[in-house]
């Protein structure tokens, strides 16, 4: 295996972080726009921000209540 330089590694991993960030941002936008959620909104903010990928997924799966 070639040893990769640090900058190369960072440039490889950066897109992954960006896409995760994108998911979190979308989840937060949907959360603030939603009229009804299961459970309080502030709790979902914490779950989305600190729950990482699983937090956002949990919100999309269970957080919204259909009207």
């Amino acid at each position: 295996m070639d040893v990769l330089s640090n900058t190369k590694v960072i440039s490889l991993i950066a897109p992954l972080f960006l896409i995760q960030l994108l998911l979190i941002v979308i989840a937060l936008i949907v959360l603030f726009k939603a009229e009804r959620t299961r459970g309080p909104k502030w709790l979902w903010v914490i779950i989305i921000l600190f729950g990482n990928l699983l937090g956002s997924i949990a919100f999309f799966l269970f957080g919204r209540r259909s009207v």
Binding site: M1, L16, L23, I26, I57, F60, R64
Partner: protein
């Protein structure tokens, strides 16, 4: 056929408006990419975790590229499967309990179209998400480790996609049979787990068992293993799975036909 397309388009519109079209592919991409990255940094992670005597040298064998890809498939086989089962657990039961199925099924629409349009929409998004995720895994494996031949990747992707499609169809079927969404998801996952455990624990070869697919998919990445799996038995398993999917759709259609609404 026009009506089928109209139903199919409605399902896609719903997936767009509920953002499923965004979060499911992203989840799969993150899932697929994180496995090669975590493997690459494993020595660093271990050494920074402390608890190591001063001067200890950690030497982990560098995994072969196909092993990294196979471990991504394992991730998809657990969390990916969970996502697919959970996101479809109320696909039909919600239409029934909310009364929308009754609104649509009093129109001259065939029950088969109603169920299969939903099924096709669910599966197409699941497949696309998995392909994105697996491509990400492949890309990072090449970038951080070494290349894997595309033909082997393609074969394993097709086998694994069939397995995901099978579990997605199970979730859809159980959502037509069971009112509780959680119970439907559990039933689909339990069936999948059971089949896959049976396929690996029982001492005889089970060509008829779709639960063999994840193992076949991982195995097809390893050139050394190719000899063990005759392509005929792989084809047979694929055909059995396709038939099982068709049967599940027939059951789901029958269930909707006999009881289009709860009220």
């Amino acid at each position: 056929m026009t009506k089928w397309l109209i139903l199919f388009r409605k399902e896609w519109l719903e997936m767009i408006r509920s953002y499923k079209i965004v979060w499911l592919p992203i989840s799969f991409i993150v899932l697929g990419a994180s496995q090669p990255i975590a493997t690459y940094f494993m020595p660093d992670i271990l050494s920074s975790a402390g608890n190591m005597p001063e001067g200890a040298i950690i030497s982990l064998p560098t995994p072969k590229p196909f092993e990294v890809l196979a471990s991504s498939l394992q991730q998809f086989g657990v969390i990916g499967l969970l996502l697919i089962a959970l996101s479809n657990m109320s696909a039909l039961s919600l239409e029934r309990s909310s009364g929308t199925a009754a609104m649509i099924l009093v129109k001259p629409v065939s029950f088969v179209s109603f169920v299969t349009a939903k099924w096709a929409a669910i599966l197409s998004l699941s497949m696309v998400s998995f392909l994105f995720g697996y491509s990400a895994a492949w890309y990072y494996t090449i970038a951080l480790f070494d290349s894997v031949r595309w033909l082997e990747v393609l074969l394993s992707a097709m086998l694994f996609a069939l397995w995901l499609g099978f579990v997605g169809t199970l979730a859809l079927m159980f959502s037509s049979l069971i009112r509780s969404a959680a119970a439907a998801a559990f039933s689909a996952l339990a069936t999948a787990a059971l089949l896959s455990i049976v396929s690996s624990t029982l001492p005889f070869k089970q060509v008829w068992n779709p639960g063999r697919l994840p193992t076949l998919a991982a195995g097809s990445l390893d050139t050394a293993q190719h000899i063990n799996n005759s392509s005929l038995s792989v084809w047979l398993t694929a055909i059995v799975t396709a038939v099982a999917i068709a049967i599940a759709l027939v059951i789901a259609t029958g269930s909707m036909r006999s009881r289009p609404s709860d009220v």
